[in-house]
Each structure stands twice: as structure tokens, then as C-alpha cells.
């Protein structure tokens, strides 16, 4: 799947899972966008339109899950938040195994502008006990991790993105990913760059630039923000001593927050957070917006140098 968007991986995974007749798909009038439309086309008897009514969709998913079926409910990331309290009280609190996918996450969503660019979804869902929170970086890993959910025992939220990104994994590599385990893409001992979603490709590019300057970075794809891989975080922090996070999300509460919590509890190290500062987005092409909000490989390079300088003080 070269040059696909992670939402394409979600749609492909639903089709892969269709042979399991416990799998049920719920839509809120955005199936063509989230790519659940692929499942609907093949299995209309197990795909249910809930209309533009996300609150109801979340509790229908809960009811389905209570009977042992495995619902996958999707809409834009921002619109899942319309049903946040439903997710909190109706799904996560009773621990009903329903899977929510929010597509079009982040500034990268582009021209739709700030109202459609959720930059807080990972943060808010991460605060809910029982919830697993994922943000894979490409279509292959989204497909593999979504497929893994069918044998998973917790409710989950997965963010996908609208626009095409570079494929980081082959399908075979993606098949080895595990929910809740860091995926270390490169190993270096000078600085660690932990990234998720579209920022993984930027982190790899940043590592290339740093390597040209003799700085060797560990790059981690944190496809699962919760449960967080504290053991691996500790090992990497001990090894590198300087840490950068990179996410298309507010620097408050998301990956940067998760890493800060883990570092302070286990092995403190200087941390620089690359992400959306405490502000909203706007319309523009993804590349223009990533530049504007400081979400590029160059921003990660700068942050890495700052983190290393802080370590060396």
C-alpha cells in the first residue's frame, strides 16, 4: 500500500475482519471518509448507519458489545468528541469492548480548517481508564493494528488521518507490531525521538539529518499511546539521556504528555515536545500547515539539539 492514508488501512482491516461474524460496523454519515464504506459495500447486513448522531452511535456500540459482538464505530476524530461522555460512561467505564476510530485527526487534515482538526483527541481518550489509544503512522500498520483489535479485551480509540503519507512498514513488518509495544525504527544513543502518526516520517527524516551531523538518534513509532510502554521508555531514556516527542496534536496531554509522565516516574531526562502549541489550526494545505505550526523534520532536528544541550549542561 504505497502512498496511502492511514484511514485506507482502517478500511482494509475491516474487510479483513469481515469473515468474523461478530464484527459489526457503525457509521455516522462519514463512511466514505473513514473508509468503513468498504465494509458496508461487501457486508451491508452488518453495517449500520446511525445518521449524523454520534452520541447515539457510541451507546449503540456499547449495547452491541454487551452481547459479545465486536462493534467498530467511526467518524471524524473531532466528531467522536461529541460523544465523549457517552464513551466515558457508556463504553470505557463498564469496560465494554467497542472500538472507535476517529479519522481526519490533526492539523494535517488541511483545508477543512480548525473545526475539523482534532488536536486533543489522543489526550482526552488517554485519560479514560480501560481505554486503549492508538495512532498508527501509515496504512499498513493501521491495518495490522486494527485487525489485532478483534482479539483485544479493552475498548479502544484509534486515530487515523485523511491524507496520504509515506509507508513506513511493509505488510510483513506491520504484522509483527503489537498493541502497547513501542516499535523502534532506528537505534542511536545520542537522542531519542518518539513520534506518532504523520510525524513518524518527519522523525525519520530528522534522524537522517542528525546522522549527517554525527548525531545518532533512536526513532520510535509510538503507535500505542495507551497502554504506554514504560519499560521500553525507561530503557531508551537510560540509553539516550535526551528525548524529543513529535505529534500532530496539542503538546498538552498527548504523546508529549504521556512521555513526560513516564520519564518523571521512571527515568527523568530532558524532554522537548514538538507538536501544536496551545492553539487551534486553520485552513491550508497539509505541508503549509505543518510548516506554520512547527511540525516538520527541521523542527524535530532543532528540538533534538536543544534536548541534547540540556542534557549536557
Amino acid at each position: 500500500m504505497t502512498g496511502a492514508a492511514s484511514r485506507d488501512g482502517y478500511g482494509a482491516a475491516l474487510l479483513d475482519l469481515a469473515e468474523d461474524d461478530r464484527v459489526v460496523v457503525l457509521e455516522a454519515d462519514l463512511g466514505k471518509s473513514t473508509k468503513s464504506c468498504l465494509f458496508r459495500a461487501e457486508h451491508p447486513q452488518r453495517a449500520f448507519s446511525m445518521g449524523i448522531a454520534e452520541q447515539n452511535m457510541m451507546l449503540v456500540a456499547a449495547g452491541l458489545a454487551s452481547t459479545g459482538l465486536i462493534p467498530f464505530a467511526s467518524t471524524f476524530a473531532i466528531f467522536t468528541e461529541r460523544g465523549f461522555e457517552q464513551v466515558r460512561n457508556g463504553i470505557a467505564r463498564p469496560g465494554l469492548v467497542a472500538h472507535i476510530c476517529g479519522s481526519h485527526g490533526g492539523i494535517h487534515t488541511g483545508t477543512d480548517g480548525s473545526s475539523a482538526q482534532s488536536i486533543e483527541d489522543l489526550g482526552i481518550y488517554r485519560t479514560l481508564p480501560n481505554m486503549t489509544v492508538m495512532h498508527p503512522c501509515d496504512a499498513s500498520s493501521t491495518r495490522a493494528l486494527t485487525k489485532a483489535l478483534v482479539n483485544y479485551s479493552s475498548p479502544s480509540y484509534t486515530r487515523t488521518v485523511r491524507n496520504k503519507t509515506r509507508e513506513i512498514y511493509t505488510d510483513d513488518e506491520a504484522a509483527n507490531l503489537e498493541i502497547g509495544r513501542f516499535s523502534v525504527l532506528t537505534e542511536g544513543s545520542d537522542v531519542a525521538i518518539l513520534a506518532c502518526g504523520v510525524m513518524v516520517q518527519e522523525a525519520l527524516d530528522a534522524a537522517d539529518t542528525l546522522a549527517g551531523e554525527g548525531v545518532h538518534a533512536t526513532v520510535v513509532d509510538v503507535h500505542t499511546l495507551k497502554p504506554f510502554d514504560h519499560d521500553e521508555m525507561k530503557r531508551i531514556s537510560e540509553n539516550c539521556g535526551a528525548v524529543v516527542t513529535a505529534e500532530d496534536h496539542s503538546i498538552i496531554g498527548g504523546l508529549g504528555g504521556a512521555v513526560a509522565e513516564s520519564l518523571t516516574a521512571n527515568h527523568p531526562a530532558p524532554l522537548e515536545r514538538v507538536g501544536v502549541e496551545d492553539t487551534y489550526g486553520m485552513s491550508g494545505q497539509p505541508a503549509e500547515l505543518m510548516e506554520h505550526y512547527g511540525l516538520t523534520a527541521n523542527d524535530i532536528v532543532d528540538a533534538a539539539k536543544t534536548a541534547i544541550a540540556r542534557r549536557n549542561v
Binding site: N56, V60, G63, S66
Partner: protein
Amino acid sequence: MTDDTPEFIQKSVDELVDIARGCRREIVKMVKRANAGHPGGSLSVIDIIVGLYGRTLRASPAEPKHPGRDRLILSKVHASPAMYAALHAFDFLDESDLHSYRMYNGICQGHVDSKWTPGIDFSGGSLGMGLSFGLGIAISGRLSGRDHHSWVILGDGECQEGEIWEAAMAAVHHRLENVTVIVDVNGIQNDDFVDQQMVMGDLSAKWTAFGWKVRDMNGHNMTEISEAIEWSKTTVGPCAILARTTKGKGVSFMENNPSFHGKAPNDEEFELAMEELA
């Protein structure tokens, strides 16, 4: 898939009237022991809950999670004392369990919770969610070939929640006939009378306009409750039953009194309530 729905033992109207009276006493005792809770809405809804258990609900205390069971989804979850009293009356809970209501680590939580209490099918807490949950179970029944029914109890004030009407649309769109709504129309919500907080107008016309089959009943008359249940089961739905009730029914000073929506009686009031419910 085989239909292995649990058996149910039908009770007579007279028996159910007696059971409901006993439940009213337990409701007031629970709220008194906890010195907190919601007596008014529990007393308005208890006859409906007892009617469902005694006249139709296929659910077994021996196997409260049976996949083929009918579901009773109390969406107005603050009326939890009514559920607990009924679960005790129908052998899902022991009398000692009722003493745990609102107590530290007690199985009878402040708001009904399926993780804590056998016989509870739905974990609510905030209003407006139960009908949607019931639709999920109804869809599952269709997909699995099971004929279980979802009985969803809403409050009239609760119908101010937008999600109720999202679900009302979805039930009709998906032609879900294995779900019935019963609205406990007691006319009072937390702060005041419903008409003062947000006038609901003609609820019958609203549900009818959303495509539901609608019937009125006196929510304290066990014969009417039984008839309405039968009507719902023999009508191509989804069906909504509007139960005209009195908040605080059975305790004179609580009846139609907004201040007993969420307040425990003092010692003197408790003694009076016990006398009236003897």
C-alpha cells in the same frame, strides 16, 4: 442458533401489587440508610419495573448474564433503589445486599451498574443513554437470531436529552421491533416541575412523529401495566408506552413534591412513610 431464552414465572396482578408495596418500603429504607438517593422517581417507577419482571421479563437469577435474556434498561438510573428492590423481590439480590446501597464498596452502587450488581443490564449514570444501548442489543438480537426484547425505561425530564431523539430516529430507521420504551411521566425533574424547567409538550405526539406506536397507561395500575406490556409485544413496533405516574407515589408528603427528587427523609418523615406503606 437455538433459542435458549430463560423461562419466566408469571405472577398475578394481585401478587404484583403486593410485591410493589413491599418494594416501596425497601426503597424508602435504602434511601434512609444511605441518607441520600432519589426516592421520588423510584416510587414513581416501581410499579412499572415490578410489572415487567412479573409479566414478561425472561431473565433468571440463576444465570443473570444469560445471552438470551430480555433486558430491562433503566435509563433514568438514579431510580436505582427501585431496581434493587425489584431485584430483591425477584430473587436476584439478598435482603442484605440492599444494605449496601451507596455504601463503601457496596454491590448496590448509587446508580445502577452492570459491573457491580447481578441482574443489572446497563451501566448508566448520566441521562439519555439507555435507549441507544437498548438499540445495540436489539440489533444484536436480529443478527444472532435471538428473540430477546429490550425494555427501556426513560424519565419525562430525561426526554430533554438530545440523544433520546437520535435513538428514536435510529430505532425506526432500522425497524427495530424488539425494543419498547416506557416513559415514566411523573412531571418532576431535579430542580422543579418539568413544565418549569423545559416544557415537553405533547410527548405522545412527539414519539408518534418519530414513527413510534404510542399508548398511554396509568403507571400505578398493574392491570393497565400488564395490558400495555401485552399490547407492545403484539404490536409491530417500535412501541412507546407513556406511563402517567405520580412522583413519590405512596408516601403522602413525597407525592408530587419536587424536593423529594433527590433527598432522604428525616427520622420523623421516615416513620410516617413506613406507616403509610405498611
